[in-house]
Symmetry: C2
Subunit: 381 residues, 2 copies
């Protein structure tokens, strides 16, 4: 066993086992690309990326794959959550069929969460399934979306509504790629890092509080620890409950409110991590209102989210719109919205809440409506 694999975080579900490799410089590390499916034959590797990421990292990835596959080609998808749809997905299928790609083809998702989710669903569906490898280049993708096999595209009525549980063959997190991440995306990724504290590990939460300046300054050691500990927690949860029949739902802390923000504003207005950050503020506040956790804990969480450069006030939307959007959440059952709530620091629970209470939380944590209305008196509240 090489040191590289010894340091790997292992994911084990009922049907699959794979490694998450975490280190700076993996794109140029031959061992990170050895031993993947269908290597060595007359097979094709297809890189799926977007123009921004490809400009930076496609050439090194191509070089890393060249020794292992007969052909390496690239398909570029339009950048951003607004394009996480069937039209973009079909660009992958068009490419694969035009190149005569067979079932021995391996897809490589080079990019953030949008590229990873779409590549994964394309791999799950092409000829009813070909292998794929996650090569996440954003903090959010490295700590959350590339791990665990949730793949999907959006529908105008709801986020991630069409997809599959489909595990990658490997996750390769080259920490050096985080150096080129725009600050807004770094903060968005920190939202998912912070998430692991309240739901599972308050020691980690304390570590994030202490090391936030280092994380924001992209200190390599701090980023390495944040990515590794996040992946360990996620791997542990996914190993217990791959298909989200129970425990896995806790990873959705902040996501019920967050998805409503994303769908309500139109995909791509807020980054996913921004919506989750604000959603966690709201979910913690709801937890406190329900008496599950001390209000001081909700305030401590809100302070960390704000310090990470994330929004803590939601866009103005009528409460009825919030409730309609959240009733389409995948955790909902029989018309009842189910929230991931904190019932003591480090421990999450999934349960419904009265609409009136939810509406009060929404009001408390939303920006005032458009200026004309705000002039009536709530401005500055």
């Amino acid at each position: 066993m090489t040191p590289l694999l010894e340091n790997a975080v292992k994911v084990a579900t009922r049907d699959s086992r794979y490694d998450i490799l975490i280190q700076p410089g993996l794109l140029a590390t031959p061992a990170a690309w050895a031993g993947l499916p269908h290597a060595g034959g007359a097979t094709q590797a297809v890189i799926v990326s977007n123009p921004t990421v490809a400009a930076l990292y496609e050439a090194p990835l191509r070089q890393a794959l060249a020794p292992h596959y007969a052909q390496v080609s690239t398909v570029l998808l339009p950048d951003g959550e607004a394009h996480k749809d069937w039209q973009s997905l079909n660009l992958v299928f068009d490419h694969l069929l035009a190149r005569g790609c067979d079932r021995q083809t391996v897809l490589f998702a080079l990019g953030g969460g949008v590229v990873g989710d779409m590549t994964g669903f394309a791999a799950a569906s092409y000829m009813r399934g070909v292998p794929f490898v996650q090569v996440p280049t954003t903090l959010l993708a490295q700590v959350d979306s590339s791990v665990g096999g949730k793949t999907a595209i959006n529908h105008p009525l709801g986020k991630n509504m069409i997809g599959a549980f489909y595990q990658p063959a490997r996750v390769v997190c080259d920490l050096a790629t985080l150096a080129t991440l725009p600050p807004r995306e770094l903060s968005a990724g920190l939202a998912e890092v912070i998430k692991y504290g309240p739901i599972a590990d308050m020691a980690f939460f304390g570590w994030i509080e202490s090391n936030l300046p280092a994380l924001l300054a992209r200190d390599p050691a701090a980023l390495a620890h944040a990515v590794k500990r996040s992946c360990e927690i996620k791997a542990w949860v996914v190993g217990q409950d791959e298909r989200e029949s129970g425990l896995r739902a806790i990873l959705n802390f902040g996501h019920t409110f967050g998805h409503a923000i994303e769908a309500g504003l139109g995909y791509g207005e807020w980054l996913h991590g921004e919506a989750v950050g604000c959603g966690m503020v709201m979910a913690a506040s709801l937890s406190a209102d329900l008496g599950l956790v001390d209000p001081a804990f909700a305030q401590r969480l809100q302070a960390l989210i704000a310090a990470a450069g994330l929004p803590t006030a939601a866009p103005a939307m009528p409460a009825s719109r919030w409730l309609d959007l959240m009733r389409l959440d995948k955790k909902a059952s029989a018309g009842e919205i189910r929230f991931v709530l904190i019932e003591g620091p480090g421990q999450a629970t999934v349960r419904p809440a009265p609409d009136a209470l939810v509406s009060r939380v929404i009001e408390r944590h939303s920006l005032p409506p458009a200026p004309a209305a705000a002039a009536g008196g709530t401005a500055g509240a």
Copy 2:
């Protein structure tokens, strides 16, 4: 155990076990609809069908489901293979989301192979997976496509290229629905029935030869045996190899040539079963040319296919077009087409064949090209 379930054909894959119920009048038999997933709660059942089938059988199915689900609704897809695409699939997602359907929703595929394949893929993908039940109303769907969990939509460049392996919770074959089947569709279904002989069971093949008049006259006892024996063979194969890593490919006998006919002519010109019938003639002929089986066997198969009312000569297409289309077959590997061939009656094998030999088979079994060219001398050949 009720007699109904005692008579059922059982399917068992690594992750799922389900029954195929085969009997006339099941739509009106309460026991056929008892014990399905999520029954009895505040859950929704959604029937997916097409206008032709729904006019005949939607009302009885709705009545059968009403005692078990809080709401039953129906979404209709345009009829035919030409519409087995993303646009139609999205009609299902639109319906599910507009009605606020959650993960406890159960889909019911009421129709032939197109409805079954699309409903199955919609169920596999909606919220990353909800249960579905196959209610096949064509012979082809009852003996083949509804069993085994292959779901898919077509891509302009290849048939069933985008889909999932996703098993139904039950298959309910009401044999009475075969009474309303157009004769052309009855013949198309017989193609898949005949298929099971050469690949697995020559005693069954002999039975089909003897009972073809009864089958064409829709004799209930003959149809019941044909459906049951076909499902038994398919269930046995799928139980060995759900994901088509080996044995399952034999169920594709006739399909490599057949899919090329369907894609080459444009989906919906020929029925799937018609293309498979002609494809089996060609695959048997190729088997004989390769010395795997006696030419007399290929002729015997061709005679039965013709007697079943199926085409035995392919549409005129240049050999290069055939080869291009077949190189996209899902069994192909590294640009090499792999054919399901007969290596002795009742026994199939999967292997490549030289392009020149394949081209000769295509020429031998194709209609002459368009009249203008045919005037040159090949007419009547």
